[in-house]
Symmetry: C2
């Protein structure tokens, strides 16, 4: 056990190979060529627009509980089935307040009005002629993981609990180009963005943020936005709660005050224990989640596993992720599997030996501003459990002696 | 015209806003809310696995001309419809030699044998327990753009001509872990990789390369590989011609010499004018292509456009891209829209004013090893036009006074 660097089986990265080799590969002589069906005849021909293997069983999980019907629902990315940092567009999480509109881009316009020198209107073709920028960014719903603030842990998968989170390469027109052209008046402080869905979702964005790194996004992971993600255009506010990145963007009103809209007063505020509510908690906190091993999984053999997970922060880049296998008694620093980038998902990993012991797996992220992900207890302290958002407490996965992995509170 | 920095209408980046504003946005008072159908009723509900807008009309183009039937065919990414640097998995280019096998991962094995201390066999679950790495990489078929070496230019789109090229985030197990475990013998120099398709495609990889940055790829853009891209596993050799990244990887044989297989002797060699053929030209050269404006497009108005394109190199990162609008008489340096990364696609852009003049748009990439993309004439010099690969000459798009954009040779 001299390669163990923290309790519960966490291993040093250099000890990995021997350990893994002993655990997962057996040496013996074998026939080399496959004799399976697929080498005996030609396969399918190429397609216009491809699809995944049926064996991969990839799907988003629909999250119920919305009293207004399925159009006011959400579906989560299956984090436990994914690796890397990109979420394919077909598996990006969804949250709609009145379903997905089928917008014809030739009939859609974006209007910039209010406290501006010139009211401007852009159609889709206009925007395609503007300079664009391209960045990897995460997007997280402010309600992500909030079910871990309930009194008892739900026995669900990583994706079901934490999958209102996705990562994409976003491409669009920096908003400052359009605002400069409209001529924002000096005393303006907020921009009110409205979507063209039946819910008319409307949010207020501080103008300082809008002039910094906000874009009118037109492409996601290379292709034009999907309808479920705001086709033909959405506001994209990096690092902030998902719904402020208003989908199906149709207007931006410049003014002195916030809009105090339904979606930032009656909803999406953080209710405190003292009965007051925090508003405009826009930036998502530093956070991480182990995606494998994770809830509902079954370890099928003893030996070495890679603990793999995602970390991110609305404040900047992730600086470090620590992992514990003994419920927080000891910690070891994980390895970055992908390059940590500002406001983007980072993939971490660390080897772990499981010899049948009970274990509690946890991860704890620190960002480059020095923010440290809180425990569950710290994350919920001071909030009313009746309705708060922005939960970023640590996710704990209990492993039984039989190898069952389950959401636990420690 | 004082903002013009090269002939044919290429503009300085700082002059852009005013120019673009004058060209594409008109200021007038407008009603703010959409009155279209989509705001009057709830839209579609969320789905398990999403799809793009029908209005986006996204599809790969099937490239014909394969005498063995459609299973030995290819389809290209529609570069003219994409932006950013990622290609969605559904639009990644395809090239199959005997169709796409529908492999059940529970019945698939990877065998490492030959000059090794231990023959090893891995199933899919085994590999999932190994440490992984995640990188953005391009993949290009060695036959990409070769139709530009024909005697006359074909009037085709950017994707049809140059779209055997895609970019993805690839995640997999570094091959050196598996080779170390098998114990490669000292005198070994090559690894022979074979796929489990009916064609049994087989290629030889220098062992120095295999121990460097080659991986057994398991995930592409976050999700398990698609069947068309090698599910459940493919070799991935960054920066090299596509077919050496053997799909449906089933065996790796370690030996002293190359395999001299069909796919590196009868095919995929570069025939020279003198009748000899170059073999193992594995690395793809420095290259770029303007994707908009591009072939088959019609400029619908006079004014400012963004010239947008992709650049890449099998030797490292792209250092600079120059753009010409007057057929190479004058050049201006383009702006990087995405961060240039080694062996990955880089998106460039530059503003261009079109006032109805005839123009020839070209781009020329330089990589961080100092390699410069050649002209078409230089790219084909010395090769037999009967069958060479690795064409990396400049793509020229002619613009007529009527705004039609067309593939031209200059």
């Amino acid at each position: 056990m001299q390669d163990q660097i923290a309790g519960g089986g966490i291993l040093h990265r250099r000890s990995l190979l021997k350990a893994a080799g002993a655990g997962v590969a057996a040496g013996f002589l074998v026939p080399v060529r496959a004799t399976e069906d697929w080498m005996t005849h030609a396969g399918e021909v190429q397609s216009e627009y491809g699809s995944p293997s049926k064996f991969a069983r990839l799907k988003r999980e629909q999250i119920g509980g919305h009293t207004f019907g399925p159009e006011a629902g959400s579906s989560s990315s299956p984090l436990q089935d994914l690796n890397g940092t990109i979420t394919p567009n077909s598996l990006h999480f969804e949250r709609h307040h009145s379903g997905i509109p089928a917008i014809d881009p030739s009939k859609h316009k974006l209007t910039i009005f209010g406290d501006v020198a010139r009211t401007l209107q852009f159609n889709y073709e206009d925007l395609l002629s503007y300079p664009m920028e391209t960045h990897l960014y995460f997007l997280e719903c402010s309600g992500n993981s909030r079910r871990n603030s309930l009194a008892r842990p739900l026995d669900l998968s990583a994706g079901s609990l934490n999958g209102l989170l996705s990562g994409s390469e976003w491409t669009g027109v920096p908003l400052h180009y359009l605002l400069d052209e409209a001529g924002v008046k000096n005393e303006s402080r907020w921009i009110i963005a409205e979507g063209a869905d039946a819910a008319g979702l409307t949010r207020s964005v501080p103008i300082k943020m809008a002039l910094d790194n906000v874009m009118v996004a037109l492409y996601q992971n290379g292709e034009p936005l999907r309808p479920a993600q705001g086709y033909p255009m959405r506001l994209f506010v990096p690092g902030c709660e998902g719904n402020i990145s208003v989908k199906w963007l149709q207007s931006l009103k410049v003014q002195k005050t916030p809009g105090y809209t339904r979606d930032e007063t009656a909803k999406y505020t953080d209710l405190l224990e003292n009965g007051k509510a925090k508003m405009f908690s826009l930036k998502m906190g530093v956070k991480s989640v182990i995606t494998s091993p994770s809830g509902k999984m079954q370890l099928r053999r003893k030996g070495v596993y890679e603990i793999s997970g995602l970390a991110w922060s609305g404040n900047g880049a992730v600086r470090a992720v620590e992992v514990s296998a003994d419920g927080g008694k000891s910690w070891a620093e994980a390895i970055f599997q992908s390059e940590p980038r500002p406001l983007a998902l980072t993939r971490f990993r660390i080897p772990w030996r499981w010899h049948g012991q009970k274990a509690v797996l946890q991860s704890r992220a620190t960002d480059d501003k020095g923010n440290v992900q809180p425990s569950r207890d710290s994350a919920i302290a001071g909030y009313s459990l009746a309705g708060f958002y922005h939960y970023n407490g640590m996710q704990s996965w209990g492993v039984s002696e039989q190898g069952m992995v389950k959401n636990v509170f420690v």
